[in-house]
Symmetry: C2
Subunit: 287 residues, 2 copies
């Protein structure tokens, strides 16, 4: 396993971690000041700061991206909605290419409208079918832009509203169906928060291999957890065996960044500097 204890060479910060403290330009600056080499920005933060300006600032700061958040949300109650989702994913791919991102993370969506509290249908099998169709329809465009798509299985507690892909096995089945050649154009975004509980995790990481391990996100599962979305823990504050999972991921060939992605009022209440310094300390000690 790589030694993380001496520096920040493999650390990336998902910018949602600091979305309540700073706009994106400030986040980029704060990361660069601390020799954090990579970030994964969100579309809304990029849009607020301007796409071209962001690309320029990232380059000038000497940072790289570990990914771009996020595409997906492929489901819809009608053809117009499905087409709009594809169009939106093409825009996300274009933005990722402009920013020099190594992948676009896909939160695939589930029951359409559920996130707004009103699911248009409850047939999760249909949602899964629409998601596969949506990824299939986006893949050529992504390949031409040289932006790998990273299907992120979300925790089953988010299966109704955010993603109907909920295990590594399910995500890898989609990869195998749509990219049987393992070209690197389609893989998984493994976020330990979503998959740490899975009894098949080790086996599915090995199955994924280097070609399918497109992104790797870390944080921790708090015990108890108080909220289904915004109660992620800092590494070391919960029960996830981070070192063990990274061992599996690296044994499978992954050599990219460990991207810290935390959504939590506990951490949004602190300053950006306090959060980043804690991220660095915990990454070195525990990740």
């Amino acid at each position: 396993m790589r030694d993380f204890s001496q520096g920040t060479a493999h650390l990336s910060i998902n910018t949602a971690t600091l979305r309540k403290q700073l706009p994106l330009p400030g986040i980029i600056e704060a990361c660069a000041q601390r020799a954090i080499p990579a970030i994964c920005p969100w579309r809304d933060q990029v849009a607020a700061a301007g796409l071209q300006a962001t690309a320029k600032q990232i380059k000038a700061a000497g940072l790289v991206l570990s990914g771009y958040c996020r595409g997906g949300f492929f489901t819809a109650p009608d053809a117009a909605g499905l087409a709009a989702a594809l169009e939106d994913n093409r825009r996300a791919i274009d933005e990722a290419a402009t920013l020099g991102a190594p992948c676009l993370v896909l939160v695939v969506g589930s029951l359409p409208g559920a996130l707004q509290g009103k699911p248009a249908y409850t047939d999760i099998g249909l949602a899964r079918s629409q998601v596969i169709d949506g990824i299939a329809a986006s893949l050529d465009y992504a390949k031409k832009a040289r932006i790998p798509l990273a299907i992120e299985p979300l925790h089953p507690m988010q299966a109704a509203d955010r993603a109907c892909v909920n295990t590594m096995e399910q995500a890898l089945n989609i990869c195998d169906a749509l990219d049987p050649g393992r070209t690197g154009a389609l893989g998984v975004g493994l976020d330990v928060y979503h998959v740490w509980w899975d009894p098949k995790l080790e086996a599915q990481i090995a199955r994924a291999g280097k070609e399918r391990l497109t992104a790797y996100h870390i944080c921790d599962w708090l015990n108890p957890t108080r909220d289904l979305l915004n109660d992620r823990g800092m590494m070391g504050d919960g029960v996830i065996e981070l070192r063990k999972v990274r061992g599996w991921v690296e044994a499978a060939g992954y050599a990219g960044f460990a991207e810290v992605e935390i959504f939590s009022d506990r951490w949004w209440a602190l300053s950006a500097g306090e959060v980043l310094d804690t991220c660095i300390a915990r990454y070195r000690k525990l990740a």
Copy 2:
């Protein structure tokens, strides 16, 4: 599929559903008054009412049980704790036999101490190993008492503190390992709340078959869900395709009760009669 629309012949009430309204004798009475033919009581409620008195009252009221809640919590940080868990499960089996229960539902446990906020270890693989050992060590005793054990996979959001068995597939793998002859002594307790999201649900229900489908619990997944434990929905208030799942369960050979199990302040705030009348109405219309 069986027609549930005309009566209550296949309805059971898990007594935790009314634990804030009434002690167990009152729940039994309220169910009997409404021609609900079955209940699934919890150990603490039975202990409060007295084991023999409860057995007698259930019989006098003409009710049967759909199960007994609950055994399990097999994990521990040391040998003494593991032995105590086995002893406690033997007591639960004895109580189930006294009450004439058709099965003992197992919430298997996970990181020991996590439910109290202080996990003694975080190795979920070790917890899984202790759980398999615990079930194996309890099975002979359960067979002699003629009490089938029903492994209940819990939702992955409860993987740290309540159960490290989190999918039907995982539960069935344990069944196959410990009861390869499919004798009926070991099966799964399928609660739709815990497994509705699983992309392999239909296939694993078919795999389970009649011999392994030992209990069937219903309620609904609310969107949004506000709490990881006590925010279960009444059938029809959420997104679970109850009729579809029951179709799979019955196609696999299950012919037992549909047991309503709801933990929720929303329903604990109403009278027992209001809750039971709603359970009956929703069961007839939607289950």
